[in-house]
């Protein structure tokens, strides 16, 4: 991570690592994040494919048409509830943008507020997911119940884990900001964390549509 934020122009030896001197014009960290997110697309792609395959299969599996079908889909999903928590998560992307923009405008106090708001919105989403999971388990749809439930909990659980990691990143940056380690010159670090956060939100849009809305 030989990245320099304020590379002195006198250091000619260093300009190959200097900020804004990369061949692509994109900083190393940001390019790395984009590549990582590209890789993540395939991860969620695999999980979503598995879910779609098993939802279809369960419906057609002999003996399961009636007995288990009642435990999935429209009967169990509380679509209004999940819609609200989805809305909460999407709003967290807005607050994230506001946090980055505040830091770029050198308003660190406001940046911290928006950062905290983003983390809180994310945490509300996670709380909703925990509530939903417990409700399903109480209704008898556990992780090991059938192929649909395994695929459902794995897909949404992986997404939830991504949100949790995002919250940890945001809180770490919040703490760093309090220590004075996240000044305006580091706005790009926050922006990169934001990229990750937005990605996780976008993935949820896809997951929400695939899991809850498509019949």
């Amino acid at each position: 991570m030989a990245e320099t934020l304020a590379a002195p122009a006198t250091d000619a030896h260093h300009d190959d690592h200097g900020h804004g001197h990369t061949n692509t014009g994109i900083s190393n960290e940001k390019l790395a994040m984009w590549l990582f997110l590209g890789s993540e697309c395939l991860l969620f792609g695999g999980l979503i494919s598995t879910f779609l395959l098993y939802r279809k299969k369960l419906n057609s599996f002999p003996g399961f048409e009636n007995a288990e079908i009642s435990k999935l889909g429209a009967q169990l999903f509380d679509i209004p509830f999940t819609s609200v928590s989805s809305f909460v998560l999407l709003m967290s992307s807005l607050t994230m943008v506001l946090a980055v923009s505040s830091l770029q405008r050198r308003d660190e106090q406001r940046m911290r507020i928006w950062l905290l708001a983003t983390a809180l919105l994310g945490a509300s989403f996670i709380a909703g997911q925990i509530y939903e999971f417990t409700a399903f388990v109480k209704e008898g749809l556990g992780f090991t119940t059938n192929i649909f439930s395994s695929a459902f909990f794995t897909l949404t659980g992986f997404h939830g884990a991504h949100v949790v990691i995002g919250i940890i990143i945001l809180m770490t940056m919040f703490a760093m900001s309090l220590q004075g380690r996240l000044g305006p010159e580091r706005a790009e670090a926050l922006e990169i964390a934001g990229l990750y956060w937005h990605f996780v939100d976008v993935v949820w849009v896809v997951v929400f549509v695939v899991v809850y809305l498509i019949k």
Partner: protein, 660 residues
């Protein structure tokens, strides 16, 4: 010497520097340059490359020993060397080790060592992440192999580990758990490495080094890292699903519940076929460097070499189901994947012809490196041709799970990938270690390898067509398979002799070099073409005194040679005049760090915890957290580089990578 400063200088702008803040954690940023500490804390891409190579070579002997056991078992009908159960474990670990712990990391060794040098950079984009990749690979590999000792036996499901055969019902020992968790750990290593190397190649090229001036090796590695980046998450999904099934009772591969047994096969081979090109393309890159140098001609058809590599990278995604022709995937799928499989032979054929055209009319010097490179061209052609026969689906249905398949993929992986890697070792050895490997011993090594290899795997074509099945621990005397099996077993000992000779060569070459007073081979002993030869051997820690400005493909060669009035190449400058001197004045290097090691050390604990006792996860998770936050808060030693804090975002992302 590079300047190592403990304290950051004050910023010229007068802003307070953060570097004076106390570091979090107890590990000070190390500054040693010698001894074992300098290795475990290094972030130097060259040292990391060498460690990759040494570890891969060690695992090569482990996997080679397993191969020898297999061949001893099959040397005669009703062999009794291994039980059926142990045989399953041994061939599984042989395959897994060779693919994930030998060829991939050995290619990573070359990538790490050479990519920054070939594009003209001081180091990779993220030196600490680079160290993390290595330690994760090492710990993942060791974790996998500890299944022999504390797992109740190795995994016994084959390297492809088809579910539901790999489920708890059919494989009740912890072996398969070691497989899934071990490959997840090494997968994280490869993903991080891929991101790191792609950013290095795209972002850190020297001035003038446009993409189409990059050496072919760099190009092939770029394609490989792209393939890794996008294929590893797919097997990550498969490995997670299998882990959840085995450890937490999920139903992904529970056929009694209606699970689809083809799910694993699709996920595995969507990764698995790009993986084939991940294994072979680095060697294609290596011989594309070696053959021009020892033919004294530029590579023939450089754009074709590059674009055929890119084409392989894309088409590699569209052929996975040819591994599944016998799985009942339907006539349309079979037809489509047959066609795609035929087409992918085209760019590979382009490469073969271009290598031959490069040699055509050249002043060929048959050094050991060149012999191995030519060996690759010849042997890979055989393996490639038998591969094309698999696109004929009716024939493939007959060959599936026979020794014909074993023969085919050993011709491409041993005859292709490994011969290429050995070629690279002989070629770049002086660049890495400052002395040549002995040529006489090297040539003996080459001939033993090529003869032993053909004795071992050539007969397997015949055995396969006679109907001998893979993964069956024995056969009957009446099957008529005994003779060729004996030949194959004899061959494996010839290979073994060759490999021991190689080890001896490493030691003997070093000793005779030391006895001769460590003569320096010079920066450019082979009259080579790419930038790594424009700096002293062994490579100084800071790589380039000044970053070169590149004006053409094979820029270094053009500094040595120009054209006379007839258009013929003539020497225009002595090598000593165009190479750099190794003067590091004013160069700042990234400081070493212990945190990659700390972070990586946490993951095996989590692995053992998931298998044996969840309490073990706690120390593992604590180590990971310590690693991540220690990393993020690590004080910098560079005056203009206060990324003690700057690492946060990236470090936090790594935490994310290591989980997801």
């Amino acid at each position: 010497m590079a300047i190592v400063e403990r304290e950051p200088l004050a910023l010229t702008t007068g802003e307070p520097s953060n570097g004076s803040l106390e570091p979090l954690g107890v590990l000070a940023r190390p500054s040693t340059k010698t001894g074992w500490r300098s290795w475990v804390s290094t972030v130097d891409h060259k040292k990391i490359g060498i460690m990759y190579g040494v570890t891969a070579l060690f695992f090569f002997f482990v996997a080679g020993f397993e191969a020898t056991l297999i061949r001893l078992q099959l040397a005669q009908p009703n062999g009794t060397v291994l039980s059926a159960d142990l045989y399953n474990q041994v061939f599984t670990m042989h395959g897994v080790t060779m693919v994930f712990l030998v060829i991939m990391p050995m290619a990573a060794a070359f990538a790490n060592y050479l990519l920054p040098l070939q594009v003209g950079a001081r180091d990779v984009a993220f030196p600490r992440l680079n160290a993390l990749s290595f330690w994760l690979f090492l710990f993942g590999g060791v974790f996998l192999n500890t299944s022999w000792v504390i797992g109740g036996g190795g995994p016994d499901c084959g390297w492809f580990c088809y579910a539901p055969n790999s489920g708890v019902v059919f494989s009740p020992t912890a072996g398969v758990d070691y497989y899934t968790l071990g490959l997840l750990i090494t997968g994280v290593a490869s993903s991080i490495g891929a991101i790191n190397l792609i950013v290095t190649v795209l972002n850190l090229r020297a001035p003038g080094m446009s993409l189409f001036r990059m050496p072919v090796f760099t190009w092939m590695q770029l394609v490989v890292q792209m393939l890794l980046l996008f294929s590893l998450p797919v097997i990550t999904v498969a490995l997670f699903l299998l882990t959840f099934d085995r450890l937490f009772g999920a139903n992904f591969f529970n056929v009694a519940q209606g699970a689809d047994p083809l799910l694993w096969q699709h996920l595995f081979w969507i990764f698995g076929h790009p993986e084939v090109y991940i294994l072979i393309l680095p060697s294609f890159g290596i011989v594309s460097e070696v053959i021009p140098v020892f033919s004294r001609k530029p590579i023939y058809g450089y754009p074709f070499m590059v674009f055929s590599g890119i084409a392989i990278g894309f088409m590699g995604w569209g052929v996975w189901a040819h591994h599944m022709f016998a799985s009942g995937i339907g006539p349309i799928s079979v037809a489509a994947f047959s066609l795609a499989t035929m087409f992918i032979a085209v760019p590979t054929g382009v490469k073969i012809l271009n290598w031959m055209a490069t040699m055509w009319g050249g002043r060929i010097r048959f050094t050991t490196a060149m012999l191995f490179a030519v060996g690759l061209v010849a042997m890979f052609t055989i393996g490639g041709l038998s591969g094309v026969t698999h696109s004929v689906a009716p024939a493939d249905t007959q060959q599936t799970d026979t020794y014909y398949i074993v023969a085919h993929f050993h011709y491409v992986l041993f005859g292709g990938a490994l011969l290429g890697l050995f070629s690279g070792m002989y070629f770049w050895w002086p660049k890495a270690f400052g002395h040549f490997l002995d040529e006489k011993l090297g040539k003996a090594h080459f001939w033993l390898m090529i003869i032993g290899f053909n004795l071992t795997f050539g007969p397997m074509h015949i055995l396969g067509l006679q109907g001998m099945s893979r993964r069956i621990q024995t056969y009957q005397a009446t099957d008529g398979l005994t003779f060729w099996n004996r030949v194959a077993t004899f061959g494996v000992f010839v290979i073994g002799a060759g490999m021991l000779l190689f080890l001896y060569n490493i030691g003997a070459s070093y000793r005779s070099w030391k006895a001769a007073g460590r003569p320096n081979p010079g920066a450019d002993p082979c009259d080579s073409r790419s930038l790594e030869w424009s700096i002293p051997s062994p490579t100084p820690e800071h790589n380039f005194d000044t970053i070169p400005t590149v004006h053409a493909a094979d820029d270094f060669w053009h500094r040595k040679y120009g054209e006379d009035e007839h258009g013929r190449a003539v020497r225009i400058a002595a090598t000593e005049d165009v190479v750099q001197k190794g003067d590091a004045t004013g160069v700042h290097l990234p400081s070493p760090s212990y945190y990659p090691l700390v972070l990586a050390a946490g993951l095996p604990f989590i692995g053992y915890g998931l298998i044996f006792n969840l309490l073990l996860v706690i120390p593992g998770a604590l180590l990971v957290l310590w690693g991540v936050y220690g990393w993020a808060y690590e004080p910098s030693t560079e005056p203009d580089d206060h990324h003690g804090d700057h690492g946060t975002a990236a470090a936090a992302h790594e935490e994310e990578t290591s989980v997801g």
